[in-house]
Each structure stands twice: as structure tokens, then as C-alpha cells.
């Protein structure tokens, strides 16, 4: 059963998008496995303090993307191949990195400056666990 207690909602992005992203990150990082169940829509909406329709919208999107299967009475569960997970990771990493690089370039930074900045803030952020 996928855990949603770690999902912190911000009010800058549509909630349904944040929910989809949270599930995708769980798949990408290996936290969630294919076949794993999601809490019911009603339970999830109560847990997150949002409307059931908002969760329903997130679930509909994930079904359309092909990694969630739902059936009345049986609940909803993840369903994806390792290839789908790998492609999901590749696409999301590429997209976010290109957006970030485009942004810092517009601020006038060069390659070395970005690398230095990333190293600096990497250490600062979460106590710098080496990997």
C-alpha cells in the first residue's frame, strides 16, 4: 500500500498534478512496485484534506498514462513494466535538468559556475549524505 503521508502539498501547482508527480517519483525511485495498491480515493482525499474529485482527476490521468489500473469494488493499483519506469525516469530527469540549465544560463552562469553551485548546495541541503 503506497504511503502518502510524506506528500506535502504546496499551493503553487494544481493538487492533482502534485499527486501524479508524487506517485511517479515513487515509481522512479523504486519506492513503489508494480502491483502495489493505492489507498482508496475517499481515504486519500481525507488524508490530504482535499476534495475526492481532485483525487479522482489525478487517478484518471494516471490511468490514461497507463501505470494505474482501477475497478469498482477492487480499488486501484499500480501496473508498469521496468521499461516504463526507466523511460519515465529518463524523461522527467531530462526535462527538469534542461529547464534548470536554461534558467541559470539566462542568469549569466557558465558551465563551471553551475557545477560549483550544485556542489555547494548539494552539501548544504540535506546534510550531504555522500552516494
Amino acid at each position: 500500500m503506497l504511503d502518502f503521508t510524506a506528500l506535502k502539498l504546496d499551493d503553487q501547482t494544481p493538487i492533482y498534478q502534485q499527486v501524479v508527480r508524487y506517485v511517479k517519483l515513487a515509481i522512479i525511485s523504486g519506492t513503489a512496485s508494480s502491483g502495489e495498491e493505492l489507498p482508496s480515493r475517499r481515504f486519500l482525499s481525507a488524508l490530504l484534506g482535499v476534495n475526492p474529485n481532485t483525487i479522482q482527476k489525478a487517478c484518471r490521468l494516471m490511468e490514461e498514462e497507463g501505470f494505474l489500473q482501477s475497478a469498482a469494488g477492487s480499488g486501484s493499483s499500480l501496473s508498469f513494466t521496468p521499461e516504463m519506469a526507466a523511460e519515465m525516469k529518463r524523461a522527467l530527469l531530462r526535462e527538469e535538468t534542461l529547464r534548470y540549465l536554461d534558467s541559470v544560463k539566462k542568469m549569466g552562469l557558465g558551465r563551471q559556475a553551475v557545477l560549483a553551485l550544485v556542489e555547494d548546495l548539494w552539501a548544504e541541503e540535506t546534510g550531504g549524505e555522500e552516494r
Copy 2:
């Protein structure tokens, strides 16, 4: 006179936020200098193909942030000190980098993997001009 022809609008973010960001990036990168004039709100809205009220909202925000001065009849012009520009750059770089690093960490990447990814996509993106 600040040039807005290079501003490409996307439909994922509120337009007024994109306009503010564009002006900030011009200040940060040194493209714009204090005292420089902005095109009139009507001209700008026509150029970007958006509503005058949207531009008005962007201008109001920039006034509240303290780097734009407006007066009826005289137009709007930038007004900032070198210290304000430096602080703007520092804050924006820090914010965007931390957001990016948080995201890639959630996807399971480590320090080395991020640095490698940034180097790879840096070269790919704009033909890789060294700096």
C-alpha cells in the same frame, strides 16, 4: 528601452509571473540597467498578444518589489541599486537550484550522478559554449 521580443510565453505559468521573471533575468544578467525604460503597458500587451490588465498586474508586482517606478504620462522605468541586483541573483539562483536538487534526490540520484547529468545536458543544450 528594454526589449521584450525575446520573451516566449508558455502556458504552464501565469503570464504576469513570466513577465516579472523576464525583467528580473534581464537585471540579473546585466542586460538591463537602472533607469532604463519599459515599453508602455499598451504597447507591451499588443506585442505579447495578451491583455493590458495582465501587464498591469506584472508592473504592480515589480513596483511592490521595489525595482520599477511608474508615473502617469511619464511611463515606467527600472530603478535598482547594484546591491539589489546582486541579492536578486543570489536569491533566485539559490531557490531554483535547491528546488532542482530536491527533485533529483527524490528520483534517487546521488551527487556524482547529478554532476554528470548536468555536464551531459549542458553540452547538448545550446551547442555548449564554454565559459
